[in-house]
Amino acid sequence: MKLIRLPGFIIAAVMLVAAATWLEIRYLGLGGKTLFVRAALFLFINSAVLALSSLVYLVGRTLAGLWREHKTGVPGHMFKTRLVGIFVILVTAPGVVLFVLTSWIVTGVVERWFSMQVKAPITSSVDIASKVYEMEGRRVSDIAAGIALQGGTDRKGYADDGLVVRVIPAGGQVSNADALTASAFSGKADTDVVSDGNTDIVRAAAPTPDNGVVIVESRLPEGTVRDIRTVRTAFEDYKTVESVKAPIKTGYFLFLALVTMLTIFMALWAALRVGARITGPIQALVEGTRRVSDGDFKTRITAVGEDEICALTNAFNSMVGEIETSQLRLKQAYAEVDNRRLVLEGIMNNINSGVILLDRAGQVIRINNAACAILCIEPRNLAGLTSREILRNVESEELVSILKNLRHRDFGGLCRELKAQIRGAPATLRVFLSNLKDADGEITGVLVVFDDLTEVIKAQRAYAWQEVARRMAHEIKNPLTPIKLAAERLLKKHREGSPDVGGVIESSMGTITREVDSLRNLVNEFSRFGKLPDLHLAETDPAALVGEVSGLYHGFRDVSLEVRASAGIPPFRLDREQIKRVLINLMDNAVEAVHQAGRVEIAADFDPAASVLRLIVADNGPGIRPEDRDRLFLPHFSTKKTGTGLGLAIVHKIVSDHGGSIRAEDNSPGARFVIELPAARHV
């Protein structure tokens, strides 16, 4: 770009110089000056014109560029315009003021040169000198006239006065250059002044009656003439200078204007350059910031120099570099999160458990297909619906209550197995609830994971009944064998006619009777399991109930009984007798587990967050084998040789009838049974 501009600039400069030279030759009329003076003048004028034109061009170009930036709204143009405006005012105002004041002073000085105080003495001196000639002329004229009247005869005595009197008779020779004599010959008296180099001679010529001419000459004193010439020269010099008074003023004005304009434009150009150096990086910064805000994080600005602007530019580059890196990391993290989200979504949509994510307001954030299938709702966009709307097909006050109560509470985690009606069909759901928290520990929502256990329970129940049938067959089969053997022995003795048949009869009958009693006991136990009475709910104090049950076991001296009931447990609606039976059953098992010598704990606790009553029975006995935990509450499962296996099954049934749950845990050492009764049961 600069290569293109430079020849253009040179061509323009040459044309400008040529035009200026032509104007100077045409109008200045320097023909009379020496070659050196002409060359110097041309050089000076053309240099000034060129410098001024260059500066005007540079300043004009900068201002035009600024105007273009202003019109196109280039970033940073406002700051630049303001800066340039300030520079222009700062540079122009003093320059103009200085120019006006200097011009005023110069004009005043020039005027003073030609003031009356100077002019009057010179003019008066000339007037006085003129009077000298005038008076002397009048004197010699009068003398010439007097002599002429006498016919030119009386000339005596004038020589003494320094006068020269000549009489030229009529027809006398007259020089062509002597206009005075010629005039007198034509009848006209006149005077004139001639000079002989040293002094002036005042002459007078007068015609005589006989057509002659009388000429009287008076030589002025040389000293006087010298003084008069000095005065005259001074006057002429003064007038010469005065004649160019206006051009002198104009000269000063032009010179001042030229210097002022050069100064102003030079300062302006320098100011604009400085301004450009200041605003350039700022403009680049603004442009860079705009590009960064548009998302171009590869933007970098070239920093020049070592000043604060350069430091700012470096800081900007560093900042943008960090933003670029962060953006890259963010994108990577986002991609990773997106991948995880896709994986999670894949998992959520492919697992059989229902998953619902609720926010703090109880509105659905996400729900998977399994949840829709379990809850019998259309798998469309369900985000934003409330939990009540999601559970509209589910009749379970317990579940609704749990969700309602847990929404704003920090309950940690909760696992429930509850019964519900889904579109009228009974279902058993196992529900896991968990708080969702952010990095600051603030609750952001609730995660609900649930499984439809209906089919599982059906299968478990079928399996349980198969097991019961198998155990029943086994239990029934056990007494049948001794009965059969006793009967066969009795028949054999009878056939043999054994003499001790009476004893055998007695012995066999005893065996048969015992085994039949055993069978009857077995039948009675099953009968009792199948005939558990209906619940009779009444307001019950759980702490008092725990105290009452624990009182039954104070008789075991080697058993350390620990009873704990937390304060503030509200009354619950329970079947007091059946829950008491549950606790006694668990306590019996615990005492038996420690072989009547160990530590047994019974406790009641209330979890206000989950609105759950917890009843806990624990011991430090041998504990429960992990493989037995799943079958612990099945009917007829027992780890004891003499047990019927119906105790914990009855316990589980009673707790389930109360809408609660029971689980066995490892107490390290020992076992720990936790009963959770839901909030709906408390008053």
Binding site: Y27, L28, G29, L30, G31, G32, K33, L41, F44, I45, V100, S103, W104, T107, G108, E111, V126, A129, S130, V132, Y133, A177, A179, D192, V193, D200, I228, V231, R232, F235, E236, D237, K239, T240, V241, E242, S243, V244, A246, P247, I248, K249, T250, G251, Y252, F253, L254, F255
Partner: protein, 196 residues
């Protein structure tokens, strides 16, 4: 308005007016200075082309300068020009006459001097009109010898240039812009054939 009651800005105003006047003067210095010239008369006399011409009017400032005792000089060039139809006209020959006038402010006499090709003439005059008449009129200027001129079409051109008086050196540099020629004038005669 008395000086005592003059506005403090009067000087500044006068300065500005002076500046404006100076600008006008500057412009006029570049644009003015053209005087009227009567068409020259020419005649052939003794085998020569003799030219008479008269400058019709002198500027008032020029007259004022004369009366202030400043010596004034007018340079006349009476030239024979050959006319060409498809080229610039050609200078053939001419005569230069320099007229000088100087008024003595003490004796009130005009000293007149004419430097011509071969001789110098001087005279004095007391009357301004007489002096100016003498200054502005040229008679008998010998433009060319007819026998030395080729056959062709010619015309007579008379130019007059008045140069400014010398000014003190201290002001010369400052007044570099001021033309040395105070005024100039030019007139030409109708074209006429020679030696055809």
């Amino acid at each position: 308005m008395t000086p005592a009651s003059a506005s403090p800005y009067a000087g500044l105003m006068s300065g500005r007016i002076s500046l404006i006047a100076a600008c006008i003067l500057l412009i006029s210095a570049f644009t003015a200075a053209a005087q009227e010239f009567s068409a020259p008369s020419y005649r052939t006399e003794d085998g020569r082309i003799i030219v008479d011409a008269r400058l019709d009017h002198l500027p008032d400032s020029f007259i004022a300068d004369i009366n202030n005792g400043i010596e004034k000089r007018i340079e006349y060039h009476a030239d024979l020009m050959r006319q060409w139809s498809k080229w610039m006209d050609e200078y053939v020959s001419g005569e230069t006459i320099i007229r000088t006038i100087k008024f003595d402010v003490t004796t009130k006499q005009y000293s007149l001097k004419s430097v011509e090709e071969r001789y110098v003439r001087e005279k004095t005059a007391k009357d301004l009109r007489e002096a100016v008449e003498w200054l502005t009129t040229i008679k008998g200027a010998r433009a060319a010898v007819v026998g030395e001129v080729q056959r062709g079409t010619y015309y007579v051109r008379v130019r007059a240039e008045a140069r400014r008086p010398e000014i003190p050196l201290v002001f010369k540099a400052l007044l570099f812009f001021m033309p040395e020629i105070e005024f100039s004038a030019e007139t030409v005669s109708p074209a006429f054939p020679l030696n055809k």
